[in-house]
Symmetry: C2
Subunit: 117 residues, 2 copies
DNA sequence: TTGACATATGAGCAATCCTTCATATGTTCA
DNA sequence: TGAACATATGAAGGATTGCTCATATGTCAA
């Protein structure tokens, strides 16, 4: 933990700061949450997630919808899998992806509402 | 628009692809949405946003809560302002920031639910 | 078994991000 | 007015990202 630059009075409202600090999520939880939002911070991945909000799709069709190469899409899918944004099932040589849970489409919908307001 | 690599059969389920394409958000909207999620994709900014979910704070206190320098926090706040994640009011030489609307705390809550499940 | 194909993955590169340092702006108070 | 201070901002550098290209894996069909 490096020493941080601070205002001379340190904090303006010490009570407010301590109240906030008491309720903050833990470090690792926040890091994980940041990584989760990072997954939604790319237009290509957003197109993929938006497409999957309508139902499962194979990698090939995801690539067509997202306007990206199957390779790029596959790289993205691995990240989305690791962050539990998507799940997939294998059927022969095909892989069908879907959103992991309803939180993801919630995030998408709320985000769209925000940018459209 | 560069030519994209495609599976030989082009798409597996043409109907599904066309159905999805018909309902996708527009390019600029998705770009804007991606930028919005990008704002939530940094632990420091997340701590700031989480803190502001509890009420308004000045830059100095935000820096204390986020464990970052006032300079770094100010840079982040400019971005958050530009993406309409936060609003602020000036009072003398102080600046008090708050979340722009309830969508932001919704995103935070839903995100936390997702990572905690 | 062999060739074609859907998907996955490693390396590498340009672009972007997050922070620090230095400095600027505007306000308060002595 | 001038010093102190809260906040803002530009430049710069190391870290991270998103893509492409090359290649690997596993499946299907002839």
């Amino acid at each position: 933990m490096t020493r941080i630059e601070l205002c001379d009075i340190e904090v303006v409202d010490r009570d407010a700061v301590e109240r906030v600090q008491a309720t903050q999520a833990h470090e690792d939880e926040l890091g994980y949450l940041a990584d989760t939002f990072q997954m939604l911070a790319s237009p290509t991945r957003l197109r993929m997630v938006e497409a999957l909000a309508g139902g499962e799709l194979c990698v090939c069709d995801l690539a067509a919808v997202a306007g990206a190469s199957p390779s790029a899409v596959s790289h993205h899918l691995r990240q989305l899998r690791q962050m539990r944004i998507v799940r997939f099932r294998k059927e022969g040589r095909m892989a069908y992806y879907r959103l992991d849970d309803e939180h993801i489409s919630d995030l998408l919908r709320t985000g769209l509402e925000h940018v459209r307001e």
